[in-house]
């Protein structure tokens, strides 16, 4: 099939950037969205033009490296899908597709469709861990039984891949879903409770300092999240935050 692409090109952080039109032919419906971009890049290289820079790695929806705001939605129109898992069978022959980078002041553009998401790492560094040394000399893993429901909920929260789609989607560029996923994972496990109060305050403080907006509960993040991270986690963060104030 044949497609019209409108793609954001930006030479570097200081370049102004603009949308550029491309035509591409020979796209197959079995291709993934990124393979379609590979094909476009092959064509560009053959013509002596500079290929389009985009982040990607595992191409199976788990590393969180790929991004892209496709036709006005993070990771494109499919639900519970990362860009690398989006397939061209989703689009029609002759369709026009717009492709933009994540937009948030906390995610400055590096080049074309690549943004700097290191702010997310810095939030994790503020408290996204349990302070236990890696000596292996702790207690036996079965020493503390954890109710299956708590373990399952913690797991669901922990499946966040840190892609930043929540930030890209949120009208306030808020990172609450991302932060709450980690806070909620640990808050629901006995091992994580010990530092729960400090963790939530430290992580929220860095989240604010990094220039993310605040949560207004629109719920868009949950809908666009490729891993279906639940808004429940934000409620848990809010509760933990309140509890931390009275501790």
């Amino acid at each position: 099939m044949k497609l019209n692409l409108k793609i954001w090109r930006q030479n570097g952080p200081n370049d102004k950037g603009r949308m550029v039109d491309y035509q591409i032919d020979g796209v197959e419906s079995d291709m993934s969205f990124l393979e379609m971009l590979d094909l476009l890049n092959e064509n560009l290289i053959a013509k002596g033009e500079e290929p389009i820079a985009f982040d990607h790695d595992c191409r199976e929806g788990i590393c969180g490296m790929c991004s892209l705001y496709i036709n006005g939605e993070a990771h494109g129109p499919d639900r519970l899908t990362t860009t690398c898992q989006l397939h061209m069978r989703r689009f029609k022959d002759g369709e026009t597709i717009t492709i933009e980078p994540w937009r948030a002041n906390a995610f400055p553009v590096i080049k074309d469709l690549i943004v700097d998401r290191s702010a997310l790492d810095r939030i994790q560094q503020a408290g996204g861990y349990i302070s236990v040394n890696t000596s292996g000399r702790t207690v036996d893993a079965n020493n503390i039984p954890i109710p299956k429901k708590d373990a399952d909920n913690a797991f669901d929260a922990a499946t966040c891949i840190g892609c930043g789609a929540c930030v890209a989607t949120c009208k306030n560029a808020s990172a609450m879903l991302f932060v709450s996923a980690k806070v909620a994972q640990f808050a629901q496990l006995p091992q994580g409770r010990v530092e729960a109060a400090k963790r939530v305050q430290d992580m929220v403080a860095v989240m604010d300092a990094e220039g993310f907006g605040s949560c207004t509960n629109t719920g868009a993040c949950e809908v666009e999240c490729p891993k279906g991270i639940s808004l429940s986690n934000i409620a848990i963060l809010n509760k933990e935050f309140l509890l931390a104030q009275v501790k």
């Binding site: 006005g72 939605e73 937009r103 907006g213 605040s214 629109t218 809010n238 935050f241």
Partner: protein, 210 residues
């Protein structure tokens, strides 16, 4: 005030002030409904009660502050949140993932604020500055004006939309366990939204035609 530094704390404050205002609006609605049933005497008595009861008098400045805080904080949050994405998307399809009401709290809120100002000029100012004997006549009289009535109805539809998101959102901000409560909160929020929108509008329309 240092506690209010955090974005989460600000949201909690928005939620608490919002819920406080919901309480006020529901009481207000209950009083206004007496305009229709039982009627004039009951309404005047209720107004009299509100004007003289010491607890209500005590709450008046609190309510006033609640309004100011909710409005000011709402505008401030929207203003700063808007600044978190300086370069906008060329193509954005927010409707795919969230409700109109949730994204436009600032606009429904500002519209209600506009109404509030008009409302204060119409009722509250004369109420405080003049000696009014017939509250019933003052209130019902204004509904004879079709433009005013239309504005009034639209404002309360706006408030209803505001509440349809605001009510459940407030509980989310307060950390209510979502899995257990969300459904009930959404339903309650929508009932309150409908009550407020239709309740106030019905009174206005009733008196426009009667």
């Amino acid at each position: 005030m240092t506690i209010l530094k955090s974005s989460v704390a600000k949201k909690v404050a928005m939620a608490l002030s919002g819920l406080f205002l919901v309480m006020f609006i529901l009481i207000h609605l209950a009083i206004n409904l007496t305009l229709i049933y039982p009627g004039k005497e009951a309404f005047d008595a209720a107004v009299e009660f509100m004007a003289t009861n010491p607890f209500i008098q005590l709450m008046q400045p609190v309510l006033f502050l609640g309004f100011i805080f909710h409005i000011a904080m709402g505008i401030y949050l929207e203003w700063t949140n808007q600044g978190k994405r300086s370069v906008k998307y060329v193509n954005s399809n927010p409707g795919a993932a969230s409700s109109w009401a949730s994204r436009n709290m600032i606009w429904t809120g500002l519209f209600v604020l506009l109404f509030l100002i008009v409302h204060l000029i119409n009722y509250f100012v004369p109420f405080k500055t003049q000696e009014i004997h017939d509250h019933y006549a003052l209130v019902t009289g204004l509904f004879k004006n079709p433009f005013y009535t239309l504005f009034y109805v639209l404002a309360f539809i706006g408030l209803g939309i505001h509440l349809s998101h605001g009510f459940q959102s407030a509980f989310q901000s307060l950390g209510t366990p979502r899995e257990k409560c969300n459904k009930a909160l959404v339903i309650t929020g929508n009932i309150i939204a409908l009550l407020v929108a239709f309740g106030f509008s019905a009174i206005a329309i009733y008196f426009y035609f009667n």
